[in-house]
């Protein structure tokens, strides 16, 4: 072997001998590797930024949520025949009782079309045969189903606790209610925001999804363990019930905007405008108490009737033939007050009939007297409105990925709402809920542990057409059947952030690169080999001369390997430069918008945090450089092996 510097001297001389040909080919190969470097730099930047933003909210925590697997069709098609038999018997008894009472009161009652009894007979398809189905609006049915679900094995919180113990979860939590909870029937009660002494509701947002207080009216709020809420608490706030009795809530951004009478920035708003808006909302809403007006279904119905009457009277102001209702209501004079009777011109008979109807409903249909009231909440934290963007642009895709939150809606700490209070009516209270409305959570110290837990315990059975074909009335949901048979009782998925999606993205890119990189390596080595092989072949005489001058085979190998390293370095410099410049360009173009998107999505504490599409991951760089060196060496080794085995005289004689 020669001294390394001498090897470099001779290799450099060789490089100069074919500089045009070598230059063109190495630039072509460098472009191939520049593509790899470009993708990896963007990926490194994106994953690094995602991780940085992931430290906001629940981003840095590896939590999975688990919902008990319960027959999704249970309310309409329970497989439990005993339950059905009981409900059918109760329906028959109830109808008989109602008929008798209606007869006694002298009011009309149509047993065949009674929509309040536990079992409804519904015509399925075109046939005249009717199918018996459970009526989820029936309180009797609800109680029966609740009791039945409570008997299901393996789906209780304690069962989940046992499951997570073996997987070494660092903590477990639970929540109840909210948008993710399965409820028997949509609430008919209403919740509205009191702004400037007026009950206001908010229209749906641009995506047509409920926003602001509408989310609360639609789904109620969800009760969460404090540990899950803390990351979303604004600076200087806490999750304790206020001295004034105000309930601490984590509200969606849209609700904060509603209370502050601010309008969300439009899609065309600049990044600065969006950030300024976020700062303004956060500053103004932190710790602010807000009033919600709760009305039960009777109160909401009365209010609606009063509004309709007023509207109708206004429309018929000039209509002399218009006959006003005999019972007229006026809007409440107080904020969230009771609807009062403005004028009652009913006859005695009309009044008696109404009373009989009311008595009948109270007796059989859980009729409640109108009730309403102010609930004072204190907004201590914000969560982004979870939205799904259906676009396919880089920004839209990342927007969907860049989300960290608790889900959609409002969130209240467990224990902040007293059972039986007015606030408890907004959503079911913890102690009264069943596994159907509950969600369990397990926290792990690593992404891998969370992933493995999900993989090992989530039900991911595949259903065939035959499975569904065999699914008839009073049959257990085939998925539930299969999951239970496999010993899987929970639907498990990542919660709170997209850490798994990010990791999956990284793994996917790595998987793609696993095939793309060798392909590029192969092509690059092939292209290089074509040129380097030719150059080495052309250098046979030179090799022969070196051999005549005393070069050993290892010295010849050293010269050419140094030569290929030279080429590799050149490729590496060009590939790295082009790849980085390309990534910098992309970063410059997309980073400002993405930064805002990420700040909003993650509700980042630092609003000036940057989401970069440019990052240098030493591993990626080393892998790329390694590939370049391998390509250069591969392209050299074969021609070189042929070259050094040749008889130098033969090559000199070719003169």
């Amino acid at each position: 072997m020669m001294r390394p510097l001498d090897g470099i001297t001779l290799a450099a001389a060789k490089l100069r001998a074919h500089r045009v040909r070598t230059g063109i080919i190495t630039v072509i190969v460098a472009l191939l590797f520049a593509c790899i470097m470009f993708v990896l730099t963007i990926l490194a930047g994106a994953t690094s930024s995602m991780r940085a933003f992931g430290r906001e909210g629940l981003g840095s925590r590896y939590i999975v949520s688990a919902k008990p697997i319960i027959d999704s069709n249970m309310t309409s098609n329970p497989s439990n025949q005993a339950l059905m038999d009981t409900l059918v018997a109760q329906t028959t008894t109830l109808k008989k009782a109602k008929s008798a009472e209606a007869k006694r009161l002298g009011i009309d009652y149509d047993a065949a079309n009674d929509l309040t009894v536990p079992i409804q007979e519904v015509a399925m398809g075109s046939g005249s045969e009717k199918t018996k189905m459970v009526n989820p609006a029936s309180s009797i049915a609800q109680q029966a189903l609740t009791s039945y679900i409570a008997t299901l094995p393996h789906v209780k919180y304690s069962d989940f606790a046992t499951l997570t113990k073996t997987a070494h979860a660092s903590a477990i939590y639970k929540s109840v209610g909210g948008a993710s909870a399965v409820t028997y029937a949509a609430p008919t009660s209403t919740v509205s925001a009191v702004v400037d002494g007026t009950e206001t509701t908010q229209a749906n947002n641009q995506s047509g999804q409920p926003s602001g207080v509408s989310q609360l009216a639609q789904n109620g709020w969800a009760y969460f363990d404090n540990e899950l809420l803390l990351p979303f608490v604004l600076k200087g706030q806490n999750l304790a019930v206020g001295k004034d009795g105000s309930i601490p809530v984590i509200a969606p951004m849209s609700a904060a905007e509603q209370f502050l009478k601010l309008t969300a920035p439009t899609a065309t708003a600049t990044p600065k405008q969006q950030i300024d808006h976020l700062v303004q909302v956060r500053t103004a809403i932190a710790g602010k108490t807000a009033q919600l007006c709760y009305r039960n279904s009777s109160s909401a119905e009365l209010l609606s009737t009063a509004k309709n009457q007023i509207d109708e009277a206004a429309r018929n102001k000039s209509n002399k033939n218009y006959v006003a209702p005999s019972l007229q209501y006026s809007l409440p004079s107080d904020v969230c007050g009771q609807v009062t009777i403005k004028k009652d011109t009913r006859t005695a008979e009309e009044k008696k009939s109404t009373e009989k109807q009311l008595s009948f409903r109270q007796q059989f249909e859980n009729y409640e007297e109108p009730a309403q009231g102010i609930i004072t909440v204190r907004i201590v934290g914000l969560v982004p409105d979870m939205t799904y963007v259906s676009g396919f642009s880089v920004k839209d895709i990342l927007k969907n990925m860049l989300q960290s939150g608790l889900g959609q809606g409002w969130f209240v700490p467990i224990g902040a709402v007293k059972e039986g209070s007015l606030a408890a009516r907004v959503a079911p209270v913890w102690s009264n809920t069943t596994p159907l409305a509950q969600t369990y959570y397990a926290e792990f110290s690593t992404y891998e542990a969370a992933r493995d837990f999900t993989k090992n315990n989530a039900c991911s059975v595949q259903l065939s057409g035959q499975d569904w074909a065999a699914y008839g009335p009073n049959q257990q949901d085939p998925r539930v059947k299969k999951c239970y048979a496999a010993g899987k009782y929970f639907d498990i998925m990542p919660f709170g952030n997209n850490a798994s999606a990010i990791e999956d993205l990284r793994h996917s890119v790595w998987n793609v690169m696993r095939y793309v990189a060798p392909a590029i390596l192969f092509v690059a080595a092939l292209v290089l080999m074509g040129v380097v092989g030719k150059i080495i072949a052309d250098s046979r005489r030179e090799t022969a001369v070196f051999r005549a001058l005393g070069a050993t085979r290892s010295s010849i190998v050293q010269i050419y390997l140094t030569y290929s390293i030279y080429i590799a370095v050149f490729i590496a410099v060009v590939a790295t430069s082009l790849g980085l410049i390309g990534a910098m360009f992309i970063n410059h173009k997309f980073s400002p918008d993405l930064s805002v998107t990420a700040v909003l999505a993650y509700n980042a504490a630092d609003v000036h945090k940057q989401f970069l599409l440019f990052g240098i991951d030493p591993l990626y760089v080393l892998v790329t450089l390694g590939l370049i060196i391998v390509a250069a060496l591969l392209s050299t080794v074969l021609p070189l092996l042929t070259n050094i085995r040749r008889n130098p005289i033969r090559d000199m004689r070719d003169e």
């Binding site: 001779l10 001389a13 001058l549 070069a551 005289i649 000199m652």
Partner: protein
């Protein structure tokens, strides 16, 4: 055709059918032979001993005999010219002496080393330290300055940069290129390039300088100067010089001219009597054995 006719044809082929030219060549050869008969090397220590050397090459499906049972001896400090027509085997002999190729049959012993017994690594070292090669086409590295070009063999010998730089400067002075060390080969004339190649060959102070048609690309003046340089090197450094040339006039400048034809030495050879093929005897009395060993010499003598 008998041997005489074959030789006559080869001679005429070599002179392009010029009978007068062929006669002049023959006269020159006869002079060389006569002088060779009178020549006695100063140092009788054998440095190169070739015994029963044959070399065949495969040319497609046929085999060509480049050397046929050659015995050849060179003494330390000799300046020997090997002449012969193209294809006579002179370059092959030189390459086998230089360890660039392996003989088909026979042995080459250089400075007591039987080249047959050397592996590839030792053979490389032998070429690097014992032999200095000079080629017809110089084979200088076009993108290395003259100084670096001269240093190349020292690079393979792992000589320290300081030592080899000093040596290259000295050698450049010896070959008359002391002021051209920073030049690239393309900036030199043919004669200068060959001088540079000689300096390169001398870099590691070899015992033997092997030059294969070193003047083939040079004009007469430069060619003569190169041969004078070889003599100078031999005289000043004691280096044994073996030069292959087809120019008989130049060959006459050497101590001894050995003529080859058809893979055999036909004149100028000296072999120590009693020397075996494996162990040369450097102290024996020398005689020209060419006449006994090959028939063509009879033709030459008669002429």
């Amino acid at each position: 055709m008998d041997n005489k006719q074959v030789f006559a044809k080869q001679l005429l082929d070599a002179t392009g059918g010029d009978i007068q030219g062929a006669l002049r060549e023959l006269q020159q050869a006869a002079k060389v032979v006569r002088e060779a008969k009178r020549y006695t090397p100063k140092n009788q220590e054998v440095i190169v001993s070739v015994n029963g050397l044959s070399k065949s090459y495969k040319m497609g499906k046929t085999s060509v005999d480049a050397l046929k049972n050659v015995d050849f001896t060179v003494y330390r400090g000799e300046f020997v010219a090997i002449t012969g027509t193209s294809g006579s085997g002179k370059s092959t002999l030189l390459q086998l002496i230089g360890g660039l190729d392996k003989p088909s049959i026979g042995e080459v012993t250089v400075n007591g080393q039987n080249l047959k017994r050397l592996g590839d690594g030792k053979l490389s070292k032998f070429r690097n330290r014992t032999i200095g090669f000079v080629f017809q086409f110089f084979y200088l590295q076009p993108f290395l300055r003259l100084q670096s070009n001269i240093e190349v063999p020292a690079m393979f010998a792992r000589t320290t940069p300081a030592v080899r730089k000093r040596k290259s400067k000295e050698l450049a002075e010896v070959v008359g290129l002391g002021d051209r060390l920073r030049h690239y080969p393309k900036e030199l004339s043919g004669g200068q390039m060959q001088r540079a190649a000689i300096a390169r060959a001398l870099q590691n102070e070899p015992l033997i300088l092997l030059a294969d048609e070193p003047t083939g690309n040079l004009d007469h003046t430069n060619a003569t100067a190169i041969f004078e340089l070889f003599k100078q090197i031999r005289d000043e450094h004691g280096t044994t010089v073996i030069v292959v040339t087809h120019d008989l006039a130049l060959a006459s400048l050497a101590d001894r001219a050995v003529h080859m034809s058809d893979g055999a030495i036909v004149s100028g050879n000296l072999v120590a009597p009693g020397a075996t093929r494996s162990v040369p005897n450097p102290t024996s009395t020398l005689t020209d054995v060419s006449a006994q060993s090959t028939k063509p010499i009879n033709v030459r003598v008669q002429l």
